[in-house]
Symmetry: C2
Subunit: 251 residues, 2 copies
DNA sequence: ACAAAAGTGTTTGGCGTACACCCATGA
DNA sequence: TCATGGGTGTACGCCAAACACTTTTGT
């Protein structure tokens, strides 16, 4: 796959890449979609190159679609990383050796790449992690258990979460991270997981309902221990309206 | 200057540029440093290319220093722009013709450039707008009177201001935009100018002093009409501390 | 003395925080 | 019946918003 890209490298923007931090939510855990390639012991963020005839945003959509099969997902550019030393000779050589990349393509590949970071919020259950070729493993990893990542990918991941936490004050979150029907406690746990701290149940309910994006369904969650919680869904129209206009209150 | 860069184009990151939105404050007006080149009727943001051996942040610092003579300035990356159509053939041809750029260099120049946007806050009186060569005019332009800009530079400028407004809720502003000694009303007008709306004097005073970054000087502004306002300066140590830790309240 | 801007304090309402009780369900 | 988690309402305190009077200075 990489060989393929490199063979057609004149069709891509040189020295530029996309990296996506894809967040999911499951088992009350924030998950990140990561890739492990056979040429490295370390995991990596899913990424890709930018075709000359594609907007960078479109290239990010492609990466996301290629890795999850999903479209129309919340996706946001958050930062661009371009330190000279983010490119590591030792790492590049490993990749070049593994794929037996010709030297001219290797030169292209080994130059400093500036990478544009995007983060996405996706439905864990709908996303189907997809490999490209046999040399990869693609998996959801608990955010708390993320191991060492290649290059500066850890820094990119951290910055993504930092941005998400900040933007939680400016927009509603949940539409792409939760199934269509969900309970308030589930939504609360999502917020708590992203923020990394506990919130008060009662205050959370008041605040989240005050936004006016929730529809209380005439239905309760079944097969659960203890009292059955009510099910809700998002009022997509209002949700999108608030996404645009923004919140004014923070958490 | 551009010819020079293009002649050494192998020393620069291809297809990548930096654009800086440099804000100043004067006469109760938000100013933006813009450049007008002889080959276009339109103004442009100051920008530059990224040397292969320089971090992108460093390249932004270079642009800023080159245009204002200032160092150690507040400078922040806010977004990266990479639509395919942000490159305009008609515009590129104008430039190529004006500088009589050789065709191979012209090809390099005409490709789609992804540009990384930075915004800076500088002291209007200390910054000395500097041209590069005789084909440019560099001037402070009132933000309210910004004319049409080349390519997508208007979009970049708008996004910069939007980001600044947002970040005003997260950090103190003023250290680099005001002279060392200033009055509270001056600081308030800065905030009002950035936000584009009026604030209440008394509430502003309470809020801004509560942050704990101001030092009240035993000195009043002289030669002013009406009651002489008190002078203040920033407690740089606390100011920097708050910059790092962040505010929690918005405007 | 008058106008215009600066300095100061108080009131009020709303939101965030803290907190207690009841309810439903599975074990 | 007991433990666990869900649902609901209230009281308090702080901060933001609204607002009026006094002070200073130039004209």
């Amino acid at each position: 796959m990489l060989r393929n890209t490199l063979a057609n490298r004149e069709k891509y923007q040189p020295g530029l890449s996309i990296d996506c931090v894809i967040f999911g939510f499951h088992d009350n855990q924030l998950k990140v979609l990561l890739i492990k390639t056979k040429y490295s012991e370390q995991w990596a963020l899913p990424g890709g190159f930018v075709p000359l005839n594609e907007d960078i945003d479109q290239a990010a959509v492609s990466v996301l679609h290629g890795r999850t099969g999903l479209n129309g997902i919340f996706l946001r550019q958050f930062a661009t990383f371009g330190a000279v030393k983010r490119s590591q000779e030792s790492f590049n050589n490993k990749v070049i050796k593994f794929y037996d990349i010709p030297s001219d393509a290797g030169k292209w590949y080994s130059s400093r790449f500036v990478t544009i970071g995007y983060y996405a919020l996706v439905d864990f259950l709908q996303a189907v992690p997809q490999t490209e070729g046999k040399n990869e493993i693609v998996e959801w990893i608990d955010h708390n258990a993320v191991p060492d990542l290649i290059l500066d990918h850890k820094e990119i991941l951290d910055k993504a979460l930092e941005t998400l936490r900040m933007e939680l004050n400016l927009m509603p979150v949940g539409y792409n991270l939760l199934p269509e029907k969900f309970t308030i406690p589930e939504l609360q746990r999502l917020y708590e997981t992203i923020l990394g701290r506990k919130l008060d149940r009662r205050n959370f309910l008041r605040k989240i309902t005050a936004i006016g994006i929730l529809i209380k369904l005439d239905e309760k969650k079944s097969n659960v221990a203890h009292k059955a919680p009510n099910l809700y869904s998002f009022d997509k129209e209002r949700y999108d309206a608030v996404l645009k206009s923004g919140l004014n209150q923070g958490w």
